[in-house]
Amino acid sequence: MAIRDETRMLLESMNRLFEDKSIKQVIDAAETGVFASDLWQAVAETGVPLAALPESAGGADAEWSDLFAVLRVAGRFSAPIPLAETMLAGWVAAAAGLEPSDGPMTVGPVRAGDKLTLVRDGNAWRLSGTASRLPYASHVAKTVLVVDGPDGEMAVALDGTGEAQITSGKNIANEARDTLTFDNVRIAADAAGTLGGGVSRAALYRRGALARATMMSGALERALDLGVTYAQERVQFGRPISKFQAVQHNLAVLASQTAAAVAAANFGIDALGKDADRETLLIAVAKTRVGEAATLACELAHQVHGAIGFTKEYSLQLSTRRLWSWREEFGSDPEWAVQVGKAVCANGAGNLWAMLTAA
């Protein structure tokens, strides 16, 4: 399928932007806990974070497939900003008739076990419960949460993190993952809305998983690129190590796993908005397959790099620490594999082939 011209141009310009601005100094600084405001500003100016929204809501009616492709680029350059979260927060907010923010946003819950309950309080609402490990919560302009309302799922949009108690945390890539606790917190009437448009907690969790899988596929491309480049430059025993067959084969496997990861994420993206069962299956497949690829690929990329890859100074760790973090977020690959297995078994062996080949 030929890639559309607009998509190609968007990706080229976003690639340039991240290449220029999501550099190691910026990432290192962000990892100390300072928000990467310049990088965020540059990305926000492109309109990409809210581009999926309808034009009436300040968006550009952009294709989700294009936005996910941008997430792959963001993952490739380890961009330390809540881009996926802001895209998804805007999507949830719009589905509940809530105002998104122009600034960075976070979205949740991101963990399957969390519980958030909204009850009526006159014209307003009261929110209780916990949203654990929300990406970048301590840095955002708005927090958008899917909650259990009296008549089903609703969304709330809080300025900053509202009146939540915040417990800071981070993943092993030093990206903020903050836990918000709400103890009967008052929510204004216009900050809560009923969800429509097929958006639900489960749908958010799936899109979050697909976003992570896509970002991981970009990080894998980066790890492969670093590995291939390094192997051609590093000389041992009188020749570049890329001339040794053992190293070539490690890189070949790394390239294969990377290609499979990019493909699996793209197949998930391609299924968005099509048949619901197929979308669910292919997103679960994507997070499962990309997670497995990441585990193997990190090992190989480090093996090719030797000791230098194990240093803070060299860039490989920016990608591998994110891969080790992201593979666990929005459900790990073993957890999603259970979902794939259960779906297939519930469908029955006789329907397995039909399920795999459904258009």
Binding site: M1, I3, R76, E221, R222, L224, D225, V228, T229, A231, Q232, S242, K243, Q245, Q248, H249, L251, A252, V253, A255, S256, T258, A259, A260, V262, A263, A264, N266, F267, I269, D270, L281, L282, A284, V285, T288, R289, E292, D333, P334, W336, A337, V338, Q339, V340, G341, K342, V344, C345, A346, G348, A349, G350, L352, W353, L356, T357, A359
Partner: protein
């Protein structure tokens, strides 16, 4: 990024391919008694029936017995047949690589003579590449052809030739004799012939595989005369031609669907509500399969656009054989049994068969090491 990235973009099947899928499923249902891993995979009647349906040489020009259908239609037909365990061996090589190679390099006379017969399921081809001392290293081939009046005289031997004992022709890879001169170019003089296996001077001996089955053969050629008109392509162009033939060989979805029935049997045994560990193990395999299938479909898209996705094919084959070799390993962890080839229980027999067959997956059609060398070259490392 400077490093080449191998891309597998999603493709959408055209409506005619989706319609064909239903037609193929009906055909498979009619021939259900011939389907299954444990049954003979070589069945000329079945191949003729497929020829009548127009499912051999699907993408070839009509003037040579083909049907001018898309690479997607061909893909759908093949994946349905493979998943069902259909007996394709009698026409598979001809359809996948011999026919396309003849269409690409053959004379008008050869195209007219061979392709319609292959497409009708009447003519079985085998692959005459490997030799006792030339497996992965095809350039080391020793079989020699000498130009004689009206044709060529060929001496040498071929090994690991699957189905030679029940094939009509082989595409023989050999070298022109160099009159005792030292060979400088290891690829020089390579030449392909369309070899009629009934020609005097050919002896075919079985090589029994570790399952106790007869698929492999050794072919001995003693002063075999091949007439001029059966030279394929040009003298000395064999290296190019065989590279193209191998690309056809590696682009098919048969590298990850051989054990599909085994996987299906595992899903059946897991039941509708499996425990977590079982669901996870099956889910992981399914994730591989779904991704491999999408990648393979993407390759069909590249073929349809006239590209030569050699690196991508090597990747799918390497990943596909790994996945298939994992199937019996996962099976024995989830559902332990003592394997027995002739067992009445389908699973017990399948695990025996797949365990013993597994080693060949990463050897035939290019070993794992050769494929990784191709991928490394694609990365610019060689």
């Amino acid at each position: 990024m400077a490093t080449p990235m191998f891309r597998f973009d999603p493709v959408e099947l055209p409506p005619e391919a989706i319609a064909l899928r239903h037609e193929v499923r009906d055909f498979i249902a009619e021939h259900q008694h011939l389907m299954g891993l444990a049954r003979s995979e070589f069945n000329r009647d079945f191949s003729r029936a497929m020829g009548k349906k127009g499912w051999i040489g699907m993408t070839w020009p009509k003037q040579y017995g083909g049907h001018e259908r898309s690479a997607f239609e061909r893909y759908v037909m093949i994946e349905e047949m493979l998943a069902a365990g259909a007996p394709l061996s009698a026409h598979y090589i001809g359809d996948r690589q011999s026919g396309p190679n003849i269409l690409r390099f053959g004379t008008e006379e050869q195209k007219q003579f061979f392709c319609p017969k292959i497409a009708a399921g009447e003519l079985t081809f085998c692959i005459g590449m490997s030799e006792p001392n030339s497996g992965s290293d095809l350039a080391g081939t020793r079989t020699r052809a000498v130009k004689v009046d009206g044709g060529y005289r060929i001496n040498g031997s071929k090994l690991w030739t699957s189905n030679a004992h029940r094939s009509d022709y082989a595409i023989l890879f050999c070298k022109m004799a160099s009159d005792g001169k030292e060979e400088v170019d290891r690829h020089g003089g390579a030449t392909q012939f369309l070899l009629d296996l009934k020609t005097p001077g050919i002896e075919i001996r079985p090589v029994i595989n570790l399952l106790g089955e007869h698929h492999f053969n050794e072919i001995f050629l003693t002063d075999v005369f091949v007439p001029d008109w059966l030279l394929l392509g040009k003298e000395g162009n064999g290296w190019n031609q065989v590279t193209s033939e191998l690309a056809f060989e590696r682009s098919a979805p048969d590298r990850f669907l051989v054990l599909f029935q085994m996987l299906r049997e595992m899903v059946r045994m897991a039941g509708p509500d499996p425990d977590k560990a079982t669901a996870a193990a099956l889910g992981k395999l399914i994730s591989h399969l779904a991704t491999l299938r999408g990648m393979s479909l993407s390759i069909a898209g590249m073929l349809q656009e006239g590209l030569s996705p050699n690196n991508e094919s090597a990747i799918v084959k390497d990943l596909g054989t790994r996945y298939e070799q994992d199937i019996p390993v996962v099976a024995r962890q989830l559902f332990p049994t003592e394997p027995e080839l002739e067992a009445i229980d389908a699973y017990v027999s399948l695990i025996a068969r797949s365990t013993m067959n597994a080693p060949r997956f990463s050897i035939q059609g290019g070993t794992r090491e050769i494929l990784r060398g191709i991928i490394a070259r694609g990365l610019g490392l060689r």
